[in-house]
């Protein structure tokens, strides 16, 4: 058995096993009054890891400065407001469940057993893509370390400036012949890479930021855009599939028994499930199919929702204005977006915090700079709700929500500096 000196970590006294007194005295350095020892076995590596998991200091997700929720000990990452995500889950599961329970037996018998099989495959694919889009890191950029931030603030880029001055708000760079402005993010203390944007709901800079989707409960960015797109595409197919076959079911049954009696035969209560399926599918079909079409256009032209609503690359801005990120052909754009290499997560949620690594500090933000982030998020949210005309009553009801989410940001200092002492991310540890 071996003993590990872990005096720099805080250890629960209850978990420290009893150590022979003689050994304890011999090893204990009088200068280190807070030594604790943990007994570890070298036989199996996994118990060692789990034991250390309790004693070693926190994982990085526990002190993550953004407003995200983490589950399963950092494996799952979502945005802060997840209520609408649960609504999405319920709608999909209940509608599909009703379809499989009440329509599939009849259709399998009278038409073909392939129908429930295809339906099941579509349903599983939709759920898989939804969970993948919701739970993965969208491409969050970690905040600058204090040294990096100081390096930018002292303006080392321009020699001879000397002394302290705040960094310029924009930097210009020429990409494939187009001049692109890189903005400085006052929250993350970095110059945002091209196509990155700061999400005020999650309080993170996200690479290739598309939009923040409440239905998915997460931002849509570089790392999860393909899952989001496949989710809405497969959901369009599933919705049309269910709608078509429910109608087919009603038609076939009415051919057998007569249309009105098909509905009147049993009380309407018995057919409420059919009515529910038709209503849900009919209303969601238009917005989801429309959204899929819109994102297919975006993928083909290699733009993000953010860039499209701002009209950054439209020819109306001026002659010679083109998209510098677009590849030569539509096919290449599609392949790059959907089948390109999967970039890794930059935030290393499950890594352990080393005592010597620089921790990102929270800085007090000025009122003026925060308003700039607020305006951007407002545009995005407005656009999102615009895309869902069938959900307009819902969107109007939740419109104040977007402003409320902005308001806390506009309070300087006190709120943002609470990150280190009490992590703003809600933490739920599952038993593993």
């Amino acid at each position: 058995q071996y003993f590990l000196l872990v005096n720099q970590f805080s250890i629960q006294a209850a978990t420290v096993p009893k150590i022979p007194a003689a050994l304890n005295r011999g090893l204990m350095d009088p200068g280190m009054t807070e030594c604790q020892y943990s007994q570890i076995s070298t036989v199996a590596s996994s118990p060692m890891e789990s034991q250390l998991g309790k004693k070693i200091p926190k994982r990085k997700w526990q002190t993550f400065p953004g407003r995200n929720k983490f589950y399963c000990n950092g494996r799952i990452m979502m945005g802060r407001q997840t209520g609408v995500f649960y609504l999405t889950l319920v709608l999909i599961v209940v509608t599909s469940g009703l379809f499989f329970a009440f329509d599939c037996p009849f259709l399998a018998y009278s038409l073909s057993p392939a129908i429930p099989a295809i339906g099941a495959f579509l349903f599983l694919f939709v759920m898989g893509m939804l969970l993948r889009a919701s739970f993965s890191d969208p491409g969050v950029l970690p905040r600058a370390t204090p040294d990096e931030a100081a390096h930018l603030e002292y303006g080392i880029n321009s020699p001879g400036s000397g002394g302290c001055r705040s960094p310029p708000r924009t930097q210009e760079v020429v990409i494939n012949g187009q001049t692109v402005k890189l903005k400085y993010c006052f929250t993350c203390k970095i110059f945002r890479p091209p196509r990155a944007s700061h999400c005020s709901l999650c309080d993170n800079c996200v690479e290739r930021f598309d939009h923040h989707c409440p239905w998915v409960g997460n931002c849509v960015g570089k790392r999860n855009y393909r899952y989001f797109y496949l989710f809405i595409l497969s959901l369009s197919f599933l919705t049309i599939f269910i709608f078509a076959f429910v109608i087919t079911h009603i038609v076939l049954r009415s051919n057998q028994t007569g249309f009105l009696s098909a509905l009147k035969d049993s009380p309407l209560l018995n057919h409420s499930d059919t009515v529910l399926e038709v209503v849900v599918c009919f209303f969601s079909m238009w917005s989801i199919v429309g959204l899929s079409g819109f994102h297919t256009y975006l993928i083909g032209s290699n733009q993000t929702t953010n860039e499209d609503i701002k009209g950054l690359w439209s020819s109306k801005r001026g002659k010679g204005n083109y998209n510098p990120y677009s590849y030569s052909s539509v096919i290449t754009n599609c392949c790059a977006a959907l089948c390109g290499p999967l970039p890794p997560s930059l935030i290393d949620r499950r890594g352990f915090i080393q005592p010597d690594t620089p921790q990102t500090l929270c800085f007090g933000n000025s009122l003026v700079s925060l308003r700039a982030d607020c305006d951007e998020a407002d545009d995005l949210l407005f656009f999102f709700f615009l895309l869902h005309p069938s959900l307009l009553p819902v969107s109007l009801a939740s419109w104040p929500f977007s402003h409320d989410s902005c308001l806390p940001l506009c309070v300087p200092h006190s709120r943002s500096c609470s990150h280190l002492s009490t992590p703003s991310a809600l933490v739920l540890e599952s038993s593993l």
Binding site: R132, P341, L342
Partner: protein, 156 residues
Amino acid sequence: MIHILHRFFFPFLQTHSLQDLRQQAPVAAKVFVQRDYTSGTICQFQTKFPAALETRIDKQQFEDTIRKLNSLYAEAEKLGGRSYLEGCLACLTAYTIFLCMETHYEKVLKKIANYIQDQNDKIYAPRGLLLIDPIERGLRVVEITVFEDRSTGPGR
């Protein structure tokens, strides 16, 4: 003794052992090599030689290191038959295939980590410098820690 125990029980921390020992030497400065966005959003770093390193290392060696890093990142993000095949296969298996195998990008990141370790041992540590892997800084910068001239040896 703490470091020896650490390295015995935590072999995965070995990449930090050089850094741990270097912590003994005082840090004179930190140099940050920023990203180069002129080719778009792919990960490339500027090859401009920082003034703070003029007295420490040869310009050509520094540029060679950065160029090699750039080529490795370009290899990770390359669009080609291999990446499309991986993407399609992953899509067909509903991305469950990544539970058993690592992505091409992750494999190249390991290669990059080994390369940086190698460069530190052979070129940078003897000159009192330390390269930090850009992935630890969110692929924003290549951080080079400049130690004071008195610190000696590659130290293992």
